[in-house]
Structure formats: C-alpha cells, structure tokens
C-alpha cells in the first residue's frame, strides 16, 4: 500500500510524483484503464492583481486527517483502485504546483468523478490558508464565492 496523502514543505514535480507513485504500486499494473489527474498551480495574478509569491499556512494534524478522509470517501463512493493527494505548504512562487490529485480506476467515469470530488472537498474544507504577496503588499486570500 502506497502513501495516499503527502504534505510537502518544499517544491514538487507532479510528473515525477505520478511516475514514482505508479511504479511504487505494482498491483495497479494492467488493472487501471483510466487515470484522472488535477494539478493546481500558483498563477502570477489573482483577481487582476499581480502576485509575486504566496505562503500556504495549514493546520497539520487536521489537514492530514481531512485529506485521508477525502481519499477514503472517494474510494468508498466510486470504483477506484488508487488515489494520491499531494499538497504544498510554505512559500511558493508563481508556476509552482500547489496541489496534485490523481485517481486510478478501471474506467474513466469513476476516475473523473472521484478526482473532481477530491479537489472540490479539498478546496472548500481542508484547513489551508493562502497569503499572497504582491504590489499592494501582503494579504490573506478570501474564500471562493
């Protein structure tokens, strides 16, 4: 069993993580027909304002508990074989990956639905807070409408 949730203080490469996770799980070989993946990346502007950097604060114990539960829920609700969630914290620069969600399944509908569920849950419920640095100084990001 591979580790389904990784919280990283430093930069990560989503493509290397995907290759490594898939090869670390030989039980997947030949069993998955569909992989749905979402990568969230820091943009260089936010609601029209330039962003030079962003710091992601989180609540480590609760983040891990929450993300592990999202993975469990996805596995229970859809017919999926494996789920990987990686989330950055600390200070990021534009173009840095923030989050990676990958779902391996036999068929694409389950893979897409579980992946979308996981990122939506993560965005609205996982205890992370973004603080952006830009021309106008530093500000906490307001939640999505």
């Amino acid at each position: 069993m591979t580790v389904p949730v990784k919280l990283l203080a430093g930069a990560f490469d989503p493509w290397q993580e995907l290759a490594a996770h898939q090869s670390a799980n030989p039980g997947l070989r030949g069993k998955f027909g569909a992989t749905a993946i979402f990568v969230g990346t820091l943009r260089d502007s936010s609601r029209g304002n330039p962003v030079s950097a962003m710091t992601l604060e989180h609540y480590p114990a609760m983040t891990r508990k929450h993300l592990e539960r999202v993975v469990e829920d996805a596995r229970r609700r859809w017919d999926v074989l494996d789920v990987l969630v990686i989330h950055r914290h600390g200070r990021l620069r534009p173009n840095d990956p923030i989050v990676l969600i990958a779902v391996w399944a036999a068929h694409r509908d389950a893979a897409f639905k579980a992946c979308r569920y996981a990122i939506d849950e993560l965005k609205t419920r996982a205890p992370f807070w973004k603080r952006e640095e830009g021309e106008a100084g530093v500000r906490w990001v307001a939640p999505e409408e």
Binding site: K123, W129, W140
Partner: protein, 76 residues
C-alpha cells in the same frame, strides 16, 4: 486538566500568537474557550474545530481537547 487552543491565519495574526494552553476549569463549550482567550468578539465567519473536526460554537469541550479557531479555508 487543560485545553489546547490553536489559532491560524488572520486570527493567529490578530491575536499575535498561535497557541494557548488554558486551564479547563469553567469551560464547557467552544464559545467559553474563545471568551477565555480574549475579550474581543469572535470575528464573523470564524470556523471552529474540536480535535481536528469541524464543530459548532455550542459544542461541548472536554479536558484534554484541542480547539482551533481559523478563517474560512482557501487551500488548493
């Protein structure tokens, strides 16, 4: 006989600290925890967790619990 209280993001900044350890005496619910931490009113939209689970202000608090106050989340 204590409650660990954690503050994150804007609430951490406003209070100027990230954690308090409170004496459990006289605390029965989450709202009591906030009143013990500061005389300031709870900021609107503040989110509460007890033992890393989302909770309401009237949720009962027990000795040894970890209570957290933070703004709406903005992850991903």
């Amino acid at each position: 006989m204590s409650i660990t209280v954690k503050f994150f993001a804007g609430i951490r900044e406003t209070l100027g600290r990230s954690e308090d350890i409170l004496d459990f005496k006289g605390i029965s619910c989450v709202a009591d925890v906030w009143k013990t931490v500061t005389p300031a009113p709870l900021p609107p939209n503040t989110v509460v967790a007890v033992n890393q689970e989302y909770a309401a202000l009237d949720q009962a608090v027990h000795d040894g619990d970890e209570v957290a106050f933070f703004p709406p989340v903005t992850g991903g």
